[in-house]
Symmetry: D2
Subunit: 285 residues, 4 copies
């Protein structure tokens, strides 16, 4: 009713912030790697906030996670081994597991304390996915995990990292040509890699860098974006692969794959896929 | 560099606000109808703000205005008479005039003082369009103008109004079945009407109302959305027509029309059109 | 470390607000009368907030409550019966009870739910005072309690109310000449009444009104002020009495009374008393 | 009327900020030394802001400047030569010049560009004092000026500096025992020095340091404070001298001096002086 009260101040850029009204603060604490807050927002429900940046909220995380996971998964003709790096709240693996082709889903997160907090407080997001027998949880630096992995051991690699421009720099090296080469090595020939890359409007340089790094390593690279209300911006994704040209795939092919694999979604489908590949990225000039 | 300084506080919803750093305040004053501010924002350049809501900024108004004007204009096979209601800063008529089929563009704005301010301060937006001989500027309530207009006098009607949920209620009656019926009367048979309808995520009720009102009056009604950074959300549009089904039009047809009419754009094209008609509206649940 | 995070937005005036960083939200809920929040602030520790206005915090409530209670109590030569209206967190009666002359301290608060919350969460403020045998807690409208009280039944009356200009208007009638006349009736001849009256700089009209109302009822009326950090302003008090001229009392007399009655304080003493009666009220011009 | 609009965000401490509604931004620019903003605030009128910290506003600068200048000036039995360091907006020298004993008032400010801006925009503050024949304006580092000054050349030294804890650190060395020793050298035997020292509640360490540094150099050191609304806190002052004990001076002596020297004030007088020396400093515990 009144503006007085508790607000979460989230940075969008140096010159744009969001104020989000708070219902309650469920948890606050520092892990070895980051500051974790679990906050119940009036507009977005329960949300996970890392180092001051909203990662996922009840109201819109399905948009973010479906858009991250399903384009890459459906572009592969039968993903059995999937590697997820990051994604501590467990919603990314939740989406991966919907594909009945999946035999093994390795989730590598550097922050074991965060995963424990997610298990405890964020059931609404992971929906028990941590306990699925196909999931193998590894608490480790993703960089290291990939370096030590065998050649051609994955069909899809999903990078669900904190933003490249976050002050903590926690994920910075995971946005680099060097790391993309390592990923290419562990991917099978028809493998697909997808990374969220934060916002291209406010951070065009970091976005362009990620895209050009991917292009030096993979044959086909596409980008797409979707507005996530609780982030205050459209989030951008970069998808890369060597065999199938993503621009040649149409909505009915995507819808067929989803149906055959028994994947049900709230947001993503073939039409959204077409809108993704047709939509220009909005960058500040 | 530092967070101290001048910020514009913009309401997104009752429980979400944006803080936008200010470079300077160019103009502030109250017209008979609304509070007008022309502000230079660090992230968005010069912007027009009405009653506390950003309407247009240098950084992203082209996205908003191209998305408002060109889908409706290209869906019509040869728009000669175009009616724009609202759009005080003159950027909507700027986009309309790009179509070389246009013979007459009537712009009706209730707020003559606002138009004078736009002429004086917002050349970067109207680009002199007010002085194009095809433009006829009428300072009048749009409701009244439409009521008094002759039957079948327009090919395209563009409603570029303040949001339906703004506290001032200035434009409220221009989002109603009654008004849409009046518009239908002044449209020729193959006419197209387009309205911006604010944000569907935070204001799903107002959005749904506008869509269902349109559906009671027109045969084909589609909605689409695009993220506008300085609004803090994806803006939604409702497009309606009786003859051509917008979902049957593809990207190359749109691109052909744009090319034949000599329309150059920064954002909109046939692919964006396809992404518009394929993208689901995001509403808060 | 970083500005991102949870902040409490407190209104100081229509054009000045405070942002206070939050450690945690201990309690939030609506009683029959007001919205109650118990918040742990980084700068001020645990605080009670009513309808969005900070009432008391660990860091500075002793300044507010000692300044409210002890001037009035020490000006009376032997207060035995004391009436406190408001003061739900129990810190005002805590200060009253320090005077060993007190035989009966009636605390009247309209909001019984608030008092229960204070008992549960704000022990750091009331320090068990609710359970002192001299205390008689009455859950009732203060206006009514005074109207129904016998003539000359109190030595000191302390009005610890929410501000006269708060939008809720909860306490508005308790700042009026009519109510002051009722208080005068229940006061003995040498009685003293003290009221907090909010801030005179931002709300000079409400302050002036309270002072002139008091002056129509009592012979001697003085005002004084003290800065309370968590309020964002200097709080003003109005003290009134008929027998002793407060301006004739000096620091050593005050110090003597405090010592004889066994009153220990953290802020108030005779010197502060002198600084109170010598300091001009700061009002916006 | 509505909360939307332009606000100045001022830091009070790491965990407390103020939002102050803006009417207009009169000037913004960077000098060699600091970021200068001249802003018209709804609640405080025109104000000077340096590096994001309000220095002076129309509504309350008289309180700040009278409290800075007159205690020191009246404690001296006949100040003829006065040194002001800082005070770029010219209000400090305005108060100094009210004492008809003054023959020479040297104002030393490091920032010549700031002084030019003050001359141009802040006539309401300096009231032409820069052009008084007794004023000698020196653009120089105060540290250097004092080092190069002759022994015993001033009766009163007034340090009107930016806060000791400001991130820029512009004035840091001017709060130090070393500098106080230099000042002592240029003061005559009965000289008085006064420094504003920012806020003791939020920055107790910096305050305590300034006081203890002064105490190592001067015999009598007193502190006092007064709430300045546009600062969001009570500002503290440290006054030091070797001959007269400030605690022995009473209100009527102060009033006599002011009257004899033809000094008229809006806030300060003998009673305020007594309230200053009797009021305890409020520090966060």
């Amino acid at each position: 009713m009144f503006l007085q009260g508790s607000w979460y101040l989230q940075k969008v850029s140096d010159n744009t912030y969001m104020l989000m009204k708070i219902r309650s603060i469920i948890y606050r604490g520092r892990t070895k790697y980051q500051y974790v807050e679990i906050v119940d927002f009036e507009d977005y429900g329960v949300g996970l906030v890392l180092d001051g940046f909203v990662q996922s909220t009840e109201a819109d995380e399905y948009i973010y996670h479906e858009s991250l996971v399903h384009p890459a998964m459906t572009l592969h003709r039968g993903p059995e081994d999937v590697l997820v790096i990051g994604g501590g709240e467990g919603a990314t693996i939740r989406e991966v597991l919907k594909h009945n082709t999946v035999k093994r889903c390795v989730m590598v997160d550097i922050d074991g304390e965060l995963v424990e907090l997610a298990k405890k407080y964020l059931g609404v997001m992971h929906k028990g996915s941590f306990y699925d027998p196909r999931v193998q949880l590894v608490i480790k630096d993703g960089l290291e995990y990939v370096r030590e992995s065998k050649d051609k051991s994955f069909d899809v690699v999903i990078l669900d990292l904190t933003d490249p421009y976050e002050p903590s720099g926690l994920a910075r090296e995971l946005y680099s040509e060097k790391f993309y080469r390592d990923i290419k090595r562990v991917l099978r020939e028809d493998g697909v890699v997808i990374s969220q890359v934060g916002n291209a409007f406010y951070y065009p340089r970091e976005f362009d860098q990620a895209v050009s790094d991917m292009k030096r390593v993979f044959r086909y690279v596409i980008t797409y974006e979707v507005w996530i209300p609780s982030f205050g911006y459209s989030v951008n994704y970069v998808l890369a692969t060597d065999i199938i040209d993503p621009l040649k795939i149409n909505s009915s092919e995507i819808n067929d794959v989803l149906r055959h694999r028994g994947v049900t979604t709230r947001f993503f489908n073939g039409e959204i896929y077409e809108s993704f590949i047709n939509r220009k990225v909005i960058k500040k000039i």
